[in-house]
Point group: none
Chain length 143, copies 4
Amino acid sequence: MKTSAISGWKSQEGYTITIDLNSSKPIYLQICDSVITQIAMGILTPGEKLPSSRRLSSALGINYHTVNRAYSQLIQEGYVTLDRRKRITINEIPEGKRSGFDPIWVERMKVILSEAVSKGFNSDMIMVKIQSILEDIESTKDE
Amino acid sequence: MKTSAISGWKSQEGYTITIDLNSSKPIYLQICDSVITQIAMGILTPGEKLPSSRRLSSALGINYHTVNRAYSQLIQEGYVTLDRRKRITINEIPEGKRSGFDPIWVERMKVILSEAVSKGFNSDMIMVKIQSILEDIESTKDE
Amino acid sequence: MKTSAISGWKSQEGYTITIDLNSSKPIYLQICDSVITQIAMGILTPGEKLPSSRRLSSALGINYHTVNRAYSQLIQEGYVTLDRRKRITINEIPEGKRSGFDPIWVERMKVILSEAVSKGFNSDMIMVKIQSILEDIESTKDE
Amino acid sequence: MKTSAISGWKSQEGYTITIDLNSSKPIYLQICDSVITQIAMGILTPGEKLPSSRRLSSALGINYHTVNRAYSQLIQEGYVTLDRRKRITINEIPEGKRSGFDPIWVERMKVILSEAVSKGFNSDMIMVKIQSILEDIESTKDE
DNA sequence: GTGGTCTAGACCACC
DNA sequence: GTGGTCTAGACCACA
């Protein structure tokens, strides 16, 4: 909490990748989540490039392989693609043509919602909170 | 691929604890989540008892210590308490008197919401889905 | 915290023995500490009798042997004696004729003081707090 | 009676972790208390690193998991943090901005004070003794 | 190399 | 019988 070991990278284009060395969440996952969140928020837009593994790793002061692992995961989940010149490019958002929500996603959502419910928050309070988080995400997008 | 190695325990009172040995999620966390979800759903009600570590572990075919760890975590997070007579008891739900949502919870929610957004689901679709999950959780409660 | 499983016994003479079934502290120790504290506070005075094991155990809703164990400990530590009629009697306070503080006591005190110090309380704050706790203990005594 | 089975670890930086295998106090708690005490004494200073679980365990001749448990507890209580690069680091002392003393701490203090009172030590003697223990703790700090 | 998880078997304190 | 502690050895995820 105190001297939170946070390390960051800021791009010219405006996006940002920060990690917290003290978090229990694996660094490679922090990078993934950071990218995904900013795609959702429209800060990272389709066609935009991410820094190379080496550049990002040295900027963050972490191992080259760790960044690579994050990128592999993002590629594998379809958020980005690796072009011929080895540059990571943000993909188009698939426009909700999916058949539906991923059951694994639903299960995770159910767990996190349950935590709130079992701590005494009612549905309305939760929905309002989620609405505000979603607005927070979407707000940047409209600009 | 694999015949999902699911193991379960069903109580007389109606609740259920199931785990999937093939899941990448740690077993002790699966137990925690299972309990928390059922507290949220009102299947596990305050005052109700959980089976002893040894009994549950043998029923699930897992190690005694693994159950113990799950229970310790639940105790530590305040969902249950350990009676000196040695029965784990579900706590009262604190009735939303909390000052607000835990920032860590909010951050996790933001990440999972972002995943949906960046896969092309818009806010409305997401809200509708969450509403239905919440109703699923709450529905059992009202009975 | 909620329905804190507290059980108690109140004597005609004014002293009180309460235990918390949810505490991680063993019941027999809770009884010992309760008695010792009240001796210190002068609520339990030399010559006074404690209830029989059976009576206290049934009043507290706990096992007979548990009370017995607490009493044995108190006897062994010299706080009380068992008279011919098997009644437990509070001993005289030895009037500080001890050679000094028990090293084990000092070590325990050092640990608990260290906890406060390492949480950012300075010596003065701690001394003031201890003074007030001591006054709380002694206040009843003077009456 | 027994040749007290004491085992220790001495760091280059000057701190020390010793345990007594014959003590009734759990080993993992001895480690915790040892660290907390030395934080309070200023021997362990914020930013300093503790040895890895494996290294300390082999130095102390105890099991790896036992050290691990001690460390987990220290992390959970906020005395240290675990860096993603996997080194346990001493936290900043929160500078007494706490709202007050933890009621559990107060209760423990009351019990230990009562023991002294009921053994015939008066308030002044106790305060003087505590003062000296506190000075013992703080003395190392000022250097 | 680190810590995290799981299994397994042992002993003890408590009730 | 219960949970708490300790030991021991295995595998995995992470960096």
